[in-house]
């Protein structure tokens, strides 16, 4: 993999993805082998909106590679509060760090920011846009549980604003997959994403409002939170919320091998009774964030060279 930045999963080929996932598997098998691989490297964390998992897993990943992190801190305590532009912020912080991780509430923030820096920049979420490093750990988890070819996946919940969904669906077009999108009509995939998916000759996508008809055919069900705050009317939310909750009764018609994933945090989309079943992969998915982000950082900081 030879990229200066990771902005969107659309920029990744199948070979790129497999390089990252293979490297992550090597690291997961033997983390000690890379314990000092980037001993002098510094990672800059620029999180313009709250994040727990993504931020902590990047921090853990960098430290496990022997490096260190510098953290911009909260927006309230930073120069952003004084009106500094994002372009200026990244130009300043690149002088302190060898690579940058950016989380920002505005769509296109990472695409713009990378025009102003020379060090590798990783998009850790830009509004309702993309979240490609989440996608890499999603793919890693899918590969471990169900494989990435001949795969039927259901992606359910808030597909309109769900950046993890957008990134995952793009990345899956590199593989032999059938993608089923399940959501209320008001939270369907943005037309931009549908447009892009239809540009891929071999991609098969279908949109549904109900899970029942498609559930038996699924190898993987990727659940996202239906965000109450997205609905202008509480009654409209209540009408659909119950339709998109998974419990043991819901899964009666599912395959025994169904893998259930969720980028977390969940609220009530997946009942706790699912946690102890063989279906649940969401905590494993979250834990995979560390080796996958170690692999990404290693490849970017090494200019794509994987040799020890």
């Amino acid at each position: 993999m030879r990229h200066d930045h990771l902005i969107t999963s659309k920029q990744l080929s199948r070979a790129d993805i497999e390089t990252v996932l293979d490297r992550a598997a090597e690291i997961a098998d033997d983390p000690d082998a890379v314990a000092n691989r980037h001993a002098n490297a510094v990672l800059g964390l620029l999180f313009f909106e709250p994040s727990t998992r993504t931020k902590m897993s990047f921090e853990t990943a960098m430290k496990r590679l022997g490096g260190s992190v510098v953290d911009m801190g909260s927006v309230e305590s930073s120069s952003v509060k004084k009106g500094e532009t994002l372009a200026d912020t990244v130009r300043v912080i690149e002088g302190y760090a060898d690579s940058l991780v950016l989380r920002h509430p505005k769509q296109g923030a990472a695409a713009m920011a990378c025009e102003f820096v020379d060090v590798p920049l990783l998009n850790a979420g830009d509004g309702a846009g993309h979240h490609p490093t989440q996608t890499m750990l999603d793919l890693y988890t899918i590969r471990e549980n169900a494989g990435l070819d001949d795969l039927t996946i259901g992606i359910m919940g808030d597909l309109k604003y769900g950046r993890t969904v957008h990134s995952l669906s793009y990345a899956l077009t590199n593989f032999d997959t059938h993608q089923h999108f399940i959501s209320p009509e008001s939270l369907q995939l943005p037309r931009e994403v549908v447009y892009d998916l239809h540009q891929q000759d071999d991609t098969q996508i279908r949109e549904h409002e109900a899970l029942e008809s498609v559930l038996p055919s699924l190898d993987v069900l990727y659940v996202t939170r239906i965000q109450r705050e997205r609905f202008p009317d509480e009654n409209e939310y209540q009408k659909v919320a119950g339709e998109y909750q998974i419990d043991l009764e819901t899964l009666e018609d599912a395959s025994d091998d169904l893998t259930i994933m969720h980028p977390l945090p969940r609220v009530d989309e997946i009942a706790p009774e699912i946690d102890e079943t063989e279906h649940a992969a969401y905590f494993e998915q979250a834990h995979n964030g560390v080796p996958v982000r170690m692999a990404l950082l290693d490849l970017l900081l090494s200019g794509g060279e994987t040799d020890e």
């Binding site: 769509q107 296109g108 931009e192």
Partner: protein, 163 residues
């Protein structure tokens, strides 16, 4: 050579509705109803005394109904033609000198337009006061912000940054 026979060759009535100009540009085969947007793109609002003739919704073989804009004393730049192509993809540009058409060409849609349109997505980083020039990929029937990737099909003229 002329492909606008609906205007020049066959129908004198339509010719009369929009008088000939001496020097300047005739923008023909503008989609019906877009003439005022064409003027907006060119920054023409009449306040500077520009001499402009406009024909709107006149019959056309190619477009059924078309608009025509004639601007006296002004030859369009390539940048202006590029932008025009977004709302008038079928337009032809005729440069007129001393009452004769000395140049005639169809507009060509560029692959990308920069610094011309503003993104309609309020959550796009380009709307946030950053030192960045807007950039849009030109699709067959739409434009797409290169940053937030929002696709706009309707109302492209309203995105034109007139500042």
């Amino acid at each position: 050579m002329s492909d606008d026979h609906d205007h020049h060759d066959g129908n004198a009535d339509h010719e009369l509705r929009v008088s000939k100009i001496q020097d300047g540009t005739v923008i023909d085969h503008v989609r019906g109803g877009q003439a005022l947007n064409v003027l907006a793109i060119l920054g023409i609002d009449g306040s500077k005394g520009e001499e402009v003739s406009v024909g709107m919704n006149v019959p056309s073989d190619r477009l059924a109904r078309k608009d025509i804009v004639k601007v006296e004393g002004r030859e369009l730049s390539q940048d202006e033609v590029d932008v025009l192509s977004l709302i008038a993809p079928d337009a032809s540009i005729n440069i007129v000198r001393d009452y004769d058409v000395v140049e005639k060409h169809r507009v060509e849609r560029p692959a990308v337009v920069e610094g011309v349109l503003s993104c309609p997505n309020a959550d796009c980083i380009t709307t946030d006061g950053e030192p960045v020039t807007s950039r849009f990929e030109v699709l067959d029937d739409a434009v797409r912000c290169s940053y937030c990737e929002t696709i706009t099909r309707e109302g492209i003229a309203e995105l034109i940054d007139t500042n």
